[in-house]
């Protein structure tokens, strides 16, 4: 007889809750986007740019995950967008049950987009579904072009990769060909969007790609 694996049962319980969250969000006509990245890659800046560039007739809200504090939630609210905070204490990723409560607190209704900003971490969040329609990874130019080869599980599992801070390309030794080749080793299909949250370059294209999610339903 095989011993039960507590890690595995935690993951399947999380998957089950994630499925419920997805159903609930679909009923609300909300497409959730799980935004993952290293600390400081620009998750919040990206979300803020998208909130501003998405059409005004769409509902737009944010669930902010952080180990501690509510700096980003306070900032997003100050811009007039609905946002709610999850603090994990020491936890290195969000879970589906944390997100379940946050959906209730936020009280957003669609049609629209719900951004879920995960904990800044390129490892742990990859294993935990939250109820999102799609998963995106923000990777920033200053982190270096070797990240897809160093954190393959994260790059493998996402639906889109957003290369941020392209305004810094002139100041850094970042080889875009090497980055793209590294992505394609583990992920053959995810589109790679090039953006600068500082100058807003590339944001319109990404916003339009995300907007199209709200006209379809989860498969």
């Amino acid at each position: 007889m095989k011993k039960p694996d507590p890690g595995k049962s935690i993951l399947s319980a999380n998957d089950e809750q994630a499925r419920k969250n997805l159903q609930r969000l679909e009923a609300l006509h909300l497409a959730a986007v799980n935004v993952m990245a290293s600390p400081g890659a620009g998750k919040t800046s990206l979300i803020v740019q998208l909130l501003k560039h998405l059409p005004e007739n769409l509902s737009r809200g944010v669930i902010e995950g952080d180990v501690a504090g509510s700096i980003d939630t306070d900032y997003i609210r100050s811009l007039g967008f609905p946002a709610t905070q999850i603090n994990t204490g020491g936890g290195c990723h969000l879970t589906a049950s944390m997100v379940e409560q946050a959906i209730t607190t936020l009280g957003l209704a669609g049609p629209g987009l719900l951004f879920i900003e995960n904990i800044g971490n390129l490892i742990c969040p990859a294993a935990y579904r939250l109820g999102e329609r799609i998963r995106v990874l923000v990777s920033s130019v200053p982190e270096g072009d070797d990240k897809p080869r160093k954190y393959p599980a994260m790059f493998a599992q996402v639906d889109a990769i957003i290369l941020n801070k392209i305004d810094l390309l002139a100041h850094l030794d970042f080889n875009e060909h090497n980055f793209q080749a590294g992505v394609r080793v583990v992920n053959e299909t995810a589109p790679i969007f090039r953006v600068s949250c500082r100058t807003a370059e590339g944001i319109d294209t990404l916003a339009e790609w995300l907007r199209q999610l709200t006209t379809t339903r989860s498969k």
Copy 2:
């Protein structure tokens, strides 16, 4: 009766192994430096600069931690320095028992410095001692000045903070006063070294500070 906490017993078993590693390294006259940071903050670049700037009469070696691959170990070896690789699979931090094996594999003897490059992660590594004399955190300018407030446990527990990529200050909205104030909320004493691994600015000062570790013993 209190239930046993499996997380706690894993941590104390790790602490016990870390103490053994520390004793072993002291007997070898090696001071180990546990280098922690976000992905892409410049851990490897910093270690390489320090290897080059430390006096040649000191032994210098590296234990490289990565989720996958051996890009950095191969690079450090190509420069003529001893290095050995730990791959954690999906693990988000090194453990003392991983480091025990790596010390044996590396076969370095002092007097000198052993750099242990931890997994790129601002959360998980903070809870796991490895047998290091000191713990340093590399935080880089592009990550933003809010990182001490967002990842307080990591900033609280380190013996020194190395602010890297200061050559990019002119191109980014990074408020050094806000960064330092954030550090001091959780850590009153750790020195903050300002460096650029790209231009080597500040490396000599840091190398001299680390060299002094090799003339003392662990308390």
